[in-house]
Amino acid sequence: MNHERDEAYKAKVGYRNLVETIGLSRIFGLMLGRNQSAIEAGYDGIEQSDSVLQLPGRSNCMNWILGHIAVYRDVMLMSIGKKPYVGKRELTLYGYGSDPIYEDSACVDISRLAEVLDGGHAILSEWLSLVGADFNVEAPHGLNVRKGDTIGEHLAHLMAHEAIHAGELGSLRELALVRMGKGWK
């Protein structure tokens, strides 16, 4: 009798955990999708030369922001045991605290950055859609960025981080449109 009750309890807890896992996957999936849409809307139709335009002050250009998001996407991929897209050169160019990118600076072409972002998005979306993603396991040590003890906490920080940078793309896109003669000012 007790055994049956234990089994029933385990099944109930298992079901609740599964529902919760799907809930967390859905939240991350929605946020990632929203971020990717904002990123694509930011760079759509923008050429390499427009991606290095600068706004007043110490903000970064679009190329740096896209590269920075790409580097952090790779961190998300590595966190879930997937292979990163970019290497040490990109990490140096676009990692936290790296130098701003200007017209004559070394940088990665915007079309390559778009490919990296698209590829990372596809892999992460697929992983989030799988039943069984466990967000309560420890985030791997040895990552160049580790934002939380569990994968869930780590991903929450990284998703918010990329969303805020995606938001910075809007005004840089407007700047590029003005230069192309498509802006209204």
Partner: protein
Amino acid sequence: MVSLGYKMNQNDIFKTILRRNQESLLSAIEGLTHSEMLLQLPGEGNCINWILGHIASYRDGMLVDSGLRQYMQADEIERYAGGSQPIRPGDACVNSTRLSELIVVSFNDLIDWLEHDTNGLSQNPAGNIKDNIGYSGVCSTLTEHFAQNIGHESIHVGELNPLHELVLESRKR
């Protein structure tokens, strides 16, 4: 893979992201005057005042969804709705000081609710979700609506950074 024995839930994700948003937002507007919050970058982007009002109205949407009190008046919400006219110096708008206060109280209420009502997100949204602020057409549950609205606000918070830099540059002139 090692489990830490700690179970992250939906409330934890939203609290983490809301706190990050709030921290970045407050840092971007700290010490700015109302007139500085009306400065414009080239193109069709919005000023800080519009972005603050827009974020505050979406926060109100989450408060209403959760059955909590909302803070903004109907005309204020309308002024800052998605697709509303940009705000330029001389245009009618809500004072930035009030908007900054709304940002603080709405944040406190949402964090408090997420902290204490641990099953709150599993309830049905108050009212018809399609009428609630921030309905995107792809969500039907409270959790999905929160995910959409909080993700939406993160992106608008990012828009504040270049505007903050613009203000700092304008002070040098």
